[in-house]
């Protein structure tokens, strides 16, 4: 079972609840982006790519594929160089500017996971546009995308 944040944006109503929940949970910076369009909105967060360009590009091995938990961030290895942000195909891994630039990327609320709790965005979403898709078909398909299809 691998968890994957599945976004059904046809259910999204652009209410920003996920964004606000994520921002609160992660110290004032949301790791989830909500893109609003005419008549639709798309929440975007880390895809936990199976072949993750961020992990491949990290010179320190601080981003690694962890079986059952997607891409894991090993903070003690990170040098805050920011190369991972350049490698993320979806722009959902970002460097938060500051004296020591910080890495902002959805980790499916790892701290909560360890307490047996769901990610905050999934819990707060009123229309169930966000859900955890554990090993489901959608997750497998979506996770295969960065390596399988070019983005146009």
């Amino acid at each position: 079972m691998e968890p994957f944040l599945f976004v059904d944006f046809s259910r999204c109503i652009a209410c920003q609840a996920c964004w606000a929940a994520c921002r609160r949970e992660h110290g004032g910076v949301s790791r989830l982006h909500l893109l609003c369009f005419q008549e639709a909105a798309v929440p975007l967060a880390c895809r936990q790519c199976r072949k993750a360009p961020c992990a491949g590009f990290c010179p320190e091995g601080a981003l690694v594929q962890e079986e059952g938990r997607g891409v894991k961030f090993l903070e003690e290895r990170c040098t805050h160089c920011g190369l991972c942000a350049a490698a993320c195909p979806f722009g959902v891994l970002e460097i938060v500017p500051g004296p020591v630039p910080d890495l902002s990327r959805c980790d499916l609320c790892r701290r909560r996971w360890e307490e047996g709790l769901m990610p905050v965005c999934v819990l707060t979403c009123p229309t169930r546009a966000l859900s955890l898709d554990a090993g489901g078909a959608v997750g497998r398909r979506r996770r295969a995308q960065p390596a399988a299809f070019p983005v146009s």
Binding site: C15, Q16, Q38, T124
Partner: protein, 685 residues
């Protein structure tokens, strides 16, 4: 939570009227975190953006922490005794000199039932019916519109009941942005195959899932509703059995819509006649159907009539008194329903009994233990009337949790009125735009810093317990009102020391709350829906299943006539300005404009304009424009979107400025201002 010394306290969210549970994680009297009430029967843990940012209100650096007295050299911190003594002395003196009608009290939909009950009681024991609150600005038309139709003006069905509807007709209501948690039941209904029809000048996120969107011109909703009823009657789609057995007055309404064909309505509303025809057929044929309306209906010069036009449509299709059907006015504030129930209205005593009714006054005077004749028999001044009279016949004003300088129409004039008062006492969390004009500002406790009951949009009465300590020397409003009353010589009538005691008095004052005792409601995980007249009564989620609350038990059709908005676009002011909310902000913004996350989402006043209008006027996305009406002008950023109809300009009302533009015409019955339609022009800067 297993953590040492940490407790989890379930509170009711202080923002909108869905009544969501928010669990606070508390250590040593301070909130250290928030968690989702996943086992709540109300919201199942879901929260909107504002609910997620709610902790920022506690311990906010801008919170008032001590009473402040205005002096020539600025604000001076004073102690509670000094502040209350002075307030009582000023109020007492002004009452002695000018009479009780020189006093005004603005109660608040942001305060608990107990606090609203106490403030209206104080006003009336001082001999004034000049007590009112912000429901006047949002759903006053629901009270005046529905009371004679159904017998009471409240949502007939609980919000979660929307999931059972097979057709949802939303008129002037945008729950996706303004009540996102309640929108889950609209979504659920749609998942089960329900038809969704949305009438709104803008293609809002609510309209994204609509099967049919009717982009109605602001202020012409009655024409649309009439045309739909016309089609239903012409095609014989009405619920004849329901009309015969449960209603009266149908024939006059039939006559009123005889000439309101869709082709006529198309010319008035701008909605294609074919779509009106489709909407009418869908709504009449797909039952049960719920009609959800909001401020797009109520905030007009004819708000009361528009509410009745909604009611006529629901009654004609038999969509009242059944699960999955109903008339659902979605209230905006966490306790606006309760503040109305408690009689914080200039013409109504607790339980909606008119002040003009001698028996009602006598009953209340007996309960309060005051001499007969204490409560005046004439309705007092409404919010907008108090503002107009400020500094004239009205000499002193007490505003509890209200910010009229931002929320009322022609805001500039309101601010001038506040400055003219002999004494203005503001009780609030923050030094709001209005409080800056006050002589004395008292620091109030926020929702989680006090206990009390609140009534959500669907008449669900819930207890929200105190979880944390207020910052500094801030106190609950109930404490403040009680201490003030005692200093005004009314101590004998204000014996209650706790919110529980006050609720027990409410049990006796308001029949619908008769069985909603503190003991019961504290233990009820999803609260209790009023009416709940007795201790052993389970509450009433769905109203009017067997009989209506009118004298003869039947619902009454009211013929409604359509008249166009008082101000239509013309050569000088060619566009129509309409106002509303954005998802990040809340009403006057005194809370949300101080919340960093919400400010990041929506930092400033903007106007939404159709790209073609912008191109014609020569400005582009992000340009600064001046919005001008006959009342005033403000600057805003332009946001171009084809979600808004051509010729319409939308502005959120959360920022100071919008209501300097709006029309200060009121509905003759509800006295609600016509916020939703004004003529304006845009000038690129």
């Amino acid at each position: 939570m297993g953590k040492e010394g940490r407790s989890r306290v379930r509170t009711v969210c202080p923002y909108c009227a869905v009544g969501c549970h928010v669990d606070l994680l508390v250590e040593e009297g301070r909130a250290v975190g928030l968690d989702y009430a996943t086992d709540s029967p109300v919201n199942g843990g879901n929260l909107c953006a504002k609910g997620n940012a709610v902790l920022d209100l506690l311990d906010h650096p801008d919170r008032l922490r001590t009473p402040l007295r205005r002096t020539a050299s600025g604000w001076e911190a004073v102690g509670w005794d000094e502040a209350l003594d002075w307030a009582a002395e000023r109020i007492g003196t002004i009452r002695d000199r000018h009479g009780p009608d020189a006093l005004g009290f603005l109660s608040s939909a942001k305060c608990t039932n107990e606090e609203n009950y106490l403030l209206q009681k104080l006003a009336r024991l001082l001999g004034s019916n000049n007590v009112d609150h912000c429901a006047r600005l949002c759903h006053a038309s629901t009270l005046t519109g529905l009371a004679p139709v159904l017998g009471m003006g409240a949502a007939t069905n609980p919000l979660h009941d929307l999931a059972q509807a097979r057709c949802l007709f939303l008129v002037g209501s945008n729950p996706a942005e303004n009540h996102p948690v309640a929108f889950q039941w609209v979504r659920e209904a749609k998942d089960k195959g329900a038809v969704v029809i949305v009438a709104d000048p803008r293609k809002t996120p609510t309209a994204w899932i609509a099967d049919l969107h009717l982009p109605v011109r602001p202020g012409t909703d009655i024409a649309l509703l009439h045309a739909m009823l016309h089609v239903i009657l012409r095609e014989g789609l009405e619920d004849k059995a329901f009309i015969r057995s449960r209603t009266t007055g149908f024939e006059r309404t039939v006559r009123a819509v005889r000439d309101t064909a869709p082709e006529w309505a198309q010319s008035v509303t701008g909605v294609p006649a074919g779509d009106i025809l489709r909407a009418a057929r869908l709504f009449a044929r797909t039952r049960p159907g719920a009609l959800i309306y909001c401020m797009g209906i109520t905030q007009h010069h004819n708000g009361t009539q528009a509410v009745r036009a909604c009611a006529n449509l629901a009654l004609a299709t038999g969509n009242v008194g059944r699960p999955g059907s109903g008339l659902i006015p979605v209230r905006g504030q966490d306790n606006v329903q309760g503040a109305c129930d408690m009689g914080a209205l200039s013409a109504l005593l607790p339980g909606y009994r008119p002040v003009a009714d001698p028996q009602a006054r006598a009953a209340m005077e007996a309960l309060w233990g005051c001499p007969p004749g204490t409560i005046p028999d004439r309705p007092g001044l409404t919010v907008t009337e108090m503002e107009a009279e400020a500094g004239r016949t009205l000499r002193a004003l007490v505003a509890m949790g209200e910010n009229p300088a931002v929320t009322s129409p022609a805001g500039g004039r309101v601010a001038e009125g506040l400055e003219r008062l002999d004494f203005f006492l503001a009780i609030d969390l923050f030094l709001t735009e209005s409080a800056r004009s006050a002589h004395l500002v008292l620091p109030a406790a926020a929702w989680a810093e006090k206990s009390g009951s609140k009534t959500s949009a669907d008449r669900r009465v819930q207890w929200s317990p105190r979880a944390v300590l207020p910052p500094g020397d801030a106190r609950p409003d109930a404490w403040i009102i009680t201490r003030l009353a005692r200093r005004l010589g009314l101590g004998a009538h204000f014996p209650c020391e706790s919110p529980e005691d006050v609720l027990r008095e409410i049990n006796r004052a308001v029949p619908a709350y008769g069985g909603i005792t503190p003991e019961r409601i504290r233990e009820a995980p999803g609260g209790i829906h009023w009416p709940c007249p007795r201790q052993d009564h389970p509450g009433t989620p769905v109203l009017f299943e067997k009989t209506f609350a009118t004298a003869d038990g039947r619902a009454r059709f009211f013929p409604v006539s359509f008249d166009p908005p008082p101000e239509s676009p013309d050569a000088d002011y060619p566009l129509c300005l309409t106002t509303g909310r954005v998802t990040a902000h809340y009403n006057s913004g005194s809370m949300t404009r101080r919340t960093p996350a919400l400010l990041e989402l929506s930092p400033e006043l903007f106007v939404e304009v159709h790209p073609e209008d912008a191109a014609r006027l020569g400005f582009s996305e992000g340009s600064r424009v001046r919005v001008v009406t006959r009342r005033g002008a403000v600057e805003a950023s332009a946001y171009l979107s084809s979600a808004v109809a051509r010729g319409v300009v939308f502005a959120p009302f959360h920022f100071p400025g919008t209501n300097r533009l709006t029309l200060d015409v009121v509905d003759p019955e509800a006295r609600i201002p016509a916020f939703k339609a004004a003529a304006c022009r845009l000038e690129p800067l």
